[in-house]
Subunit: 455 residues, 2 copies
C-alpha cells in the first residue's frame, strides 16, 4: 500500500475564520417568524435566550467570521481532526472507488458537537452569562456543552429526556464528571415540567418537553441565564464549518478531487459544517464540483418525505416559525438508535439548498446503517456512532455503484462521532433484535395536519 | 498562550523498529524456570503457546527489532499518537511545572493494548495460526486482540471473567462487533472450566481461572490455536516501545528536556513502553537524565510492598516461574476500578530496574486517582481510564511538589487510555460510593506463604 492512510494538519492550520455559505448563496433564506404576530423576528425577540454575538451570527451575510482566540485555544485540544483514506474498507468492498473520511470522534465528547458548544459558551461568558440551561436527548449535545461550559466557568443545567436519563447513564455520568447538573425531564424544577408531571407523573419525557423546560428555566432564572441549542440554527451550522474547511485542505494534501461528498443529517449541523465549504467552491466555479448527498434516517425523512412549510422547531410550540421541510412538529419518529437524527424539521439553509437542487438527499433504513457500521468497524477499526453509520452507509452505496459501473470516483464522507456510548445498540443489532419498520404515508399526512395556519 | 498545545508527528515518523532495553542493561534478567524441573525454560517449552517469532523476541538482546511492514500499516490507523502540553492542568494547579502527556486513547480500542495485539496477531498469522484463545478481565486486552485478529483473519475466542461479562457488557459488545467469540469464564467449553463449575456452579470467575481456560483451549484445540498475553512478558513490553520512541521525538519538537517521567503500572507493559526509550538515553549518558517513576495502586503494590522471589504468573500455577516482586500468586486485590492494574506480580525487566534503583515506584490509593482523573477531565477535556488516572495522580503530585519548592520542572506522563467504558466508576466516585481500604501487612504476609519452594 503506497498512499498514506492518515492526513493530518498541524495545529497552525486550524481554520482562523468560520465560513458562512449565506454570503455566497444565489438566494436569501426565508425570514423566521414570530409565532404570535407571524412577522419576522428581530434581535430583541431572541435576546432573552441568546447573547447578541450569536444572534448577529444567526443572520450574518459576512463570508468569513473570525474565530476568537480563546475559542481557538480550546478547539486546538483536538483540532485539526484527522482525515483518513479508507484503504481497508475499499478492499472489503472490492471497489474501484477511492474513499476518504473526516473523523470528528477525536473530540473530548466524541462527536462534532463541541465545535459549536465551545464558541457558544465563550460568547455567553463574554456577555456576562453566569449559567446556561439546555436540553439533551441521548446526551451528545449535553456532554459537549458541559465540557465547553467547564472551560469558560459557566454553570450548566441539563434537562435530559427521562427515558435516556434512566437507560443511558454513561453520557449522564460524563456530563456530571465535567461539572454539569443533570435532571431527568419532565422535572419539578420548572413550571413547564411541573404542569406535565401534574397530568402524568410517569411521563418518560421527550425532546420537545426538555426544550420547553430549558427555555422556561432560561427566561425565569434569578442568575443571568441563557439557553443554548446544538443544531438547526444557522449560527450552529456556521461554527461547524471548521470540519469542511479542514477537509478541503486535507484532500488537497492527498491530491484528491472529490466527486461525491456525503454526510448524515438530522437537524443539519454536521452535514452543513462538512459540506458547505465544498459548496462554496462549487458555487464559485459555476456549478462544477462534487455531488453533495445528505443521508437521513428512513424513520425521520424530513427532506425526502416532508412538506415545505412554516413550522415550529419544537413539539411544544415555543420556538419561532421556520420555513423548512418538516414532518410536522408533533411527529414522533420511531425510537431508532441514531437519536441525534430523530428530528422532524431541518435547518433553513439546507432546505433552501435542497429545494434549489444544489444538494441531494436519500433516506436509509436502520438495519442497513448498522450493517455498514459493523463493516466499517471491522475494516477501518473505528466504531461509528449510529448517526455516523448513516454517512458510512451512504458512502458504501456510492462505492458499490462505482463497482457496478466499473468507474473509479473519489468519495469523501464525515464520520461525525464514535459509538463508544452506543454499544448496546450494536449488541441489539448483532443479536438480531433490530427490525426495520415502514413509515406509512398516512402517519406523515396525519402529522402534517398540525402545521400552523399561516395568514 | 504562545506555546502550542498539541505535538503531532507525521505518518512517516512512526518508529520503524521496536527498542529493546535489554541490549543496554548493565545486568541480565534472571532466567524463567520450568515449574516442574526448576530449570530454565527453552523455546520448545513455549512453542505450544506462542509462535517462534514471539519466543525469540522474548529473549532477544538485539537493541532494535524491525517492525514488519504489515504491522506498520495497521498501526498507522492511529499512530503516531499525539503528545499534549497540559496548559489547562498547569493553570488549574497553579504550578510552575511544565506538564506534557502522551495520549494512547486514540487507538481503536481506546488504550495502548493494540500496539502489541497487532504484531502478536501478525506473527501468529505468519506461523499459520488459525485461531487464538485469550483471557480478559474488564475487556481492554480482549477488545484490542479482537480488533487485531480481525485485521489478520484469525479467529478469536475470549474467556472473559464472568463478573465482568455480566457487569460490563460494553467491552464485550465491542469484541463481538469486531468478530470475536466471547464466553463468560468459568465456561463449560474447557476441561479447566468444567472442573471449576462442577465444584462451584455459581463461580463468578477470576483472571487466574480465565488464563487457565485460554491455555487449556490453546493446547487442546483441533484447529491450530495459540495463546496470547497482553502484558508482563518481555515481547509485549518490546512492542509497546513505540509509545516512548515517539514521545522522545515529540519532546524534542517541543524543545523540552524531561526531568520526571511518570507512568502507571500493573503488569508493566504501558509503563515500559513509555519509559524504556528514556532509560536508553539515561544509560547512554552515564545516568544523567530524568527520574523515572512508576505509579502502582495501593491495592496491588507489588513493587513497593511485594517480595522479590520466583513465583507463578497466574493464580492457577500453570505458567513458568518468574523472578519478580510479587504479592503471591493467590493474592486477590480489592476490586478497584483500575482492573488493568490488579496484578500480583510484575514484568521481569521492570523488577530488575527497580532493584537496581534505575526507576522509582509509588503506590497511590484509589480515591486520590479519581480525584486526579476528574481534575484532568475538567481541565484538559479527556476523561482518563481509571488505570491512566494513576499516572495523572503521579504527575499532579510531582507538579505540586514543584509548586511547594518554587521550582519549574518538566514532567511527562503517559495517558494510556480513555475512560469511555468506565463511566459507571466515575459515577460511583462522584456520588461518594468509593472508599479507600488499608491493605494490612498480615494479608500480604499470608499471601507470600504460597510462594513456591525453590531448591
Amino acid at each position: 500500500m503506497s498512499s498514506p492512510t492518515k492526513y493530518l494538519l498541524s495545529e497552525d492550520r486550524i481554520p482562523k475564520a468560520w465560513y458562512n455559505l449565506r454570503a455566497d448563496l444565489p438566494f436569501d433564506l426565508p425570514p423566521v417568524l414570530h409565532p404570535g404576530t407571524k412577522q419576522p423576528v428581530g434581535p430583541d425577540d431572541l435576546a432573552p435566550l441568546f447573547p447578541m454575538a450569536l444572534i448577529e451570527q444567526e443572520v450574518s451575510k459576512e463570508q468569513y467570521i473570525e474565530i476568537p482566540e480563546p475559542v481557538l485555544e480550546v478547539l486546538k485540544l483536538w483540532r485539526p481532526t484527522p482525515m483518513f483514506r479508507a484503504h481497508q474498507l475499499e478492499n472489503a468492498l472490492d471497489t474501484p472507488a477511492k474513499i476518504y473520511y473526516k473523523y470528528e470522534g477525536v473530540s473530548p465528547s466524541g462527536s462534532h458537537k463541541p465545535n459549536t458548544a465551545v464558541p457558544q459558551a465563550y460568547y455567553n461568558q463574554l456577555a456576562g452569562t453566569k449559567r446556561i440551561a439546555t436540553e439533551t436527548g441521548a446526551g451528545q449535545w449535553g456532554s459537549s456543552l458541559a465540557f465547553a461550559c467547564g472551560k469558560f466557568g459557566i454553570e450548566l443545567k441539563v434537562y435530559m429526556v427521562k427515558v435516556s436519563y434512566q437507560q443511558k447513564p454513561y453520557r449522564r455520568n460524563l456530563m456530571e464528571t465535567w461539572g454539569a447538573t443533570v435532571v431527568p425531564s419532565p422535572s419539578p424544577d420548572t413550571e413547564a415540567g411541573r404542569n406535565i408531571l401534574a397530568k402524568d407523573p410517569d411521563c418518560t419525557g421527550s425532546l420537545g418537553i426538555a426544550i420547553s423546560e430549558a427555555v422556561n428555566d432560561a427566561v425565569t432564572a434569578k442568575v443571568p441565564t441563557k439557553y443554548a441549542l446544538g443544531s438547526v440554527l444557522e449560527h450552529v451550522l456556521l461554527h461547524q464549518s471548521v470540519i469542511g474547511l479542514e477537509t478541503v485542505e486535507q484532500l488537497a494534501l492527498a491530491n484528491a478531487q472529490p466527486d461525491v461528498v456525503v454526510g448524515c443529517i438530522g437537524g443539519g449541523s454536521n452535514f452543513a459544517g462538512f459540506a458547505y465549504p465544498f459548496l462554496r467552491d462549487k458555487l464559485k466555479s459555476g456549478g462544477q464540483g462534487p455531488r453533495v448527498v445528505a443521508i437521513e434516517p428512513a424513520a425521520a425523512p424530513s427532506l425526502t418525505r416532508g412538506v415545505y412549510a412554516y413550522d415550529f422547531g419544537d413539539t411544544a410550540q415555543l420556538t419561532p416559525l421556520m420555513k423548512m421541510y418538516t414532518l410536522g412538529h408533533d411527529f414522533v419518529p420511531e425510537p431508532i438508535h441514531a437519536g441525534g437524527l430523530r428530528y422532524h424539521g431541518m435547518a433553513s439553509s439546507i432546505c433552501e439548498l435542497y429545494r434549489n437542487k444544489l444538494i441531494e438527499a436519500r433516506a436509509v433504513p436502520q438495519l442497513a446503517t448498522f450493517e455498514a457500521g459493523v463493516l466499517f468497524a471491522r475494516s477501518e477499526g473505528i466504531l461509528p456512532a449510529p448517526e455516523a453509520a448513516h454517512a458510512v452507509r451512504g458512502a458504501i452505496d456510492e462505492a458499490l455503484k462505482c463497482k457496478a459501473e466499473g468507474v473509479s470516483r473519489t468519495i469523501v464522507f464525515n464520520l461525525c462521532g464514535h459509538g463508544h456510548f452506543d454499544l448496546s445498540a450494536y449488541e441489539r443489532y448483532l443479536s438480531g433484535s433490530i427490525a426495520d419498520h415502514d413509515l406509512p404515508q398516512a402517519v406523515l399526512d396525519r402529522a402534517k395536519t398540525t402545521l400552523p395556519a399561516m395568514a
